[in-house]
Amino acid sequence: MFKITTEVITGAEVREAVEGPDAGAVVLFFGTVRNNTDGRAVRCLEYEAYPPMAEKKMAEIAQEISEKWGIDRVAMVHRVGKLEIGEVSVAVAVASPHRKDGFEACKYAMDRLKQIVPIWKREVWADGEAEWVKPDAVFFDTAKPHKTAPQTD
């Protein structure tokens, strides 16, 4: 299960996708929206994706995991649209016979997701400013308000 969704992520969807009577260890990762980034107050986040390519890349990550660890039970879901503080942006589940492999594979999935899956985050600060984020730095400060950005609360 590799999915871009606009729905709330509960975790049950990825967990159910990997569970089975012969898989004893399930490792889950949830990324949630924090109320601050480097100390600056965040109002909400907006995620945009290129869904067909994102889902294809997620499946490729699962294929890499299958080759590295022999684990075939991997599920990933990433939400897009506006997310409030505390909401889950991404969930990854890995079921494996050995817990060590499960932790490694789940971490690997998240590392790769951030490298190759076309999804972008826009931070909407508490003061109303907004900007697209790039890895390790702000990529682009928007001069004009973004079309989908909330201007008031």
């Binding site: 998240m110 951030k114 972008w120």
Partner: protein, 84 residues
């Protein structure tokens, strides 16, 4: 030939559109599209070095040749998932 070009995130914002059809000469490559966009909006070229391109949902290079009906996309640095 005709291809679809998609713009996401900061590119979407800069160009003020999320996708368009482009008519390209035979033998066109990804580079052909980049040059055409630069003519319209010179600032976008500043971001080319950090940006990637895709053709039919796969990462591509400037030299990737295009064919009728291809779906091309400008891929700004991806920032999905969780920050740190």
């Amino acid at each position: 030939m005709n291809v679809t070009v998609k713009y996401f995130a900061v590119c979407h914002e800069m160009l003020d559109r999320s996708e368009e059809e482009m008519e390209l000469p035979e033998g066109a490559t990804v580079q052909t599209i980049l040059k055409r966009l630069e003519e319209e909006w010179p600032e976008i070229a500043e971001f080319y070095e950090v940006m990637q391109m895709s053709v039919n949902w796969e990462y591509a290079t400037e030299n990737t040749e295009l064919a009728e009906g291809d779906e091309v996309a400008l891929i700004p640095p991806v920032t999905g998932g969780f920050d740190v």
